[in-house]
């Protein structure tokens, strides 16, 4: 019994097309300077023309870092949540620290971090991991701790061990929360990666934004920003798709 969401692709697409057309008209009619806001068409042209040479290598680099951040950050977050859920003291002691880590804007920490770790761009993924782990940890932990009592009772009634209860009840029950953490992790990973590229270094999409800005190549600035947006969007959608396949029991 699957509920199909009809036209969920068409509606946003139409809205997007309308917005782009309106913008195109406005920019032309109001004669806005291309340095301030170029026409959508000129952005598109700049994007296609320069993609292979000036954008793609940086896109791939950024993707690598984001990916690395997720591949390490998500399992670590899950593992820590599993451990934390067994010890109340750990939770009480570390939650304030974790919250501080998550809410402090990363851009403020990055320069400090660069001082410690150096400018080696290959080590930058550590910053991303530091952003992703707490997000995944907090959400997963919340899922592990909020188990309906009746499921625990069910498990107890079979004389299940703590491990059996964790694997068969606590973890599956937490999966919706786990995916919330993963989706947020994708978002945070993207933001964190771009932030670090903003601050320093000479590779990555974030760096490219800064570079094109300084060269007053505004069309390319917008083009790269659109790429960044697309990366975040696609990552999130991939996570959502995975969620829909696995978490089948929540509407």
């Amino acid at each position: 019994m699957k509920v199909k969401k009809s036209n969920s692709f068409l509606a946003p697409f139409i809205v997007l097309v309308v917005i782009v057309c309106v913008l195109e008209l406005l920019v032309r009619l109001l004669k806005i300077s291309p340095t301030v806001l170029p026409t959508p068409s000129s952005i598109a042209v700049a994007l296609f023309v320069n993609f292979r040479q000036d954008i793609l290598p940086h896109l791939l680099w950024t993707l690598r870092i984001i990916g690395l951040g997720l591949v390490i950050g998500i399992p670590v977050g899950l593992l820590l949540a599993a451990i934390f859920s067994q010890f109340d003291i750990l939770i009480a002691a570390t939650t304030p620290l974790i919250l501080i880590l998550v809410t402090t804007p990363l851009i403020t920490i990055v320069p400090l971090f660069m001082l410690w770790v150096g400018f080696n761009p290959g080590l930058r993924f550590i910053i991303i991991v530091i952003q992703v782990v707490p997000i995944v940890l907090l959400n997963t932990l919340s899922g592990f701790l909020k188990v309906p009592k009746k499921y625990i009772e069910l498990s107890k009634g079979y004389g299940a061990t703590k491990f059996q209860t964790f694997m068969k009840v606590i973890f599956p029950n937490a999966l919706p929360q786990v995916f919330t953490g993963i989706k947020l992790g994708c978002i945070f990973s993207t933001i964190a990666t771009i932030s670090t590229e903003f601050v320093g270094g000479n590779i990555g999409l974030g760096y490219r934004v800064v570079y094109f800005s300084s060269m007053l190549e505004t069309e390319l600035v917008y083009a790269v920003i659109i790429c960044i947006g697309l990366v975040g969007f696609i990552l999130y959608q991939l996570a959502s798709m995975l969620e829909r396949r696995i978490v089948t029991w929540v509407i």
Binding site: K156, Y158, G159, A160, K168, V169, L175, W249, V250
Partner: protein
């Protein structure tokens, strides 16, 4: 099957001591359909959970399957006891079949013979075609039937039920209660059912343990001496039924 001796249990709720049951003694015979009846909050659910072993009595002892336990029934015995919850208590992320497999997994019961029992129990409750469905796709009555199948799948000797039909609408309830009596006759197991419904208690039970709404009054055992062939929808016209009904009513 069970001998309950001088059992007591009390709770503390918001600094108030609540007595669930005090110094009660009775026995439950093998293969009988034993009903426990009483008004809400009279300690019957608590008694059932103590019979299950997930709650321990404060004093007194229980003899279960020939062995005396003073500290409540240990978890090693749990695979002999099936339990049907008031609100089905199915795991929403598992299919119907998956929910039936859960106790087998926890008890470590592997192999073809156990897997075929899953099929057998699903067919017994008439839900074999729904084995891949998720609980959210089922109606209340269907979920309860899955709960019953799950309680039977590991072939326990006793099946305990905590008001298994109270969450159902009257029509479904009627149908399932009658199905249930047939399942009892077919499986020949000891059934212990907690209910707050007079009619059900008389319809299903061979004996009924009635709790009074006054905590001080000791619960009483009443024998339902209506032959089982007559236990059907027409029972309400039976003279003995009416007598028993008023007897129970007064006590409660």
């Amino acid at each position: 099957m069970y001998t309950i001796s001088d059992l007591s249990k009390e709770y503390v709720v918001n600094k108030n001591k609540i007595v669930a049951f005090k110094n009660i003694s009775f026995d439950i015979r093998q293969k009988e359909f034993f009903c426990i009846m009483g008004p809400s909050g009279s300690g019957k659910s608590s008694l059932l959970k103590t019979l299950f072993g997930i709650e321990k009595p404060d004093s007194g002892y229980i003899v279960f399957d020939g062995i005396k336990y003073e500290d409540g029934i240990p978890s090693s015995e749990f695979k002999k006891i099936g339990y049907v919850y008031q609100n089905d208590n199915l795991l929403p992320w598992r299919s119907v079949e998956g929910n039936l497999k859960l106790p087998l997994e926890v008890f470590g019961l592997k192999g073809e013979e156990w897997l075929s029992r899953v099929t057998e129990m699903l067919k017994l409750v008439g839900l074999y075609e729904y084995k891949d469905a998720l609980p959210r796709e089922l109606s209340g009555g269907m979920k309860q039937r899955v709960g019953i199948a799950r309680a039977l799948v590991y072939n326990p000797e006793v099946v305990l039920m905590d008001q298994p039909f109270s969450a159902l609408d009257a029509i479904t309830r009627n149908i399932i209660v009658n199905e249930f009596i047939l399942i009892w006759k077919k499986t020949k197991k000891t059934f212990v059912m907690v209910t707050n419904d007079l009619h059900e208690a008389i319809l299903c039970g061979s004996r009924v343990l009635v709790f009074s709404k006054e905590a001080a009054v000791k619960p009483k055992i009443i024998e339902i001496d209506i032959p089982f062939e007559d236990r059907n929808a027409d029972i309400i016209f039976d003279k003995r039924y009416k007598e028993l009904r008023s007897e129970l009513q007064q006590f409660v």
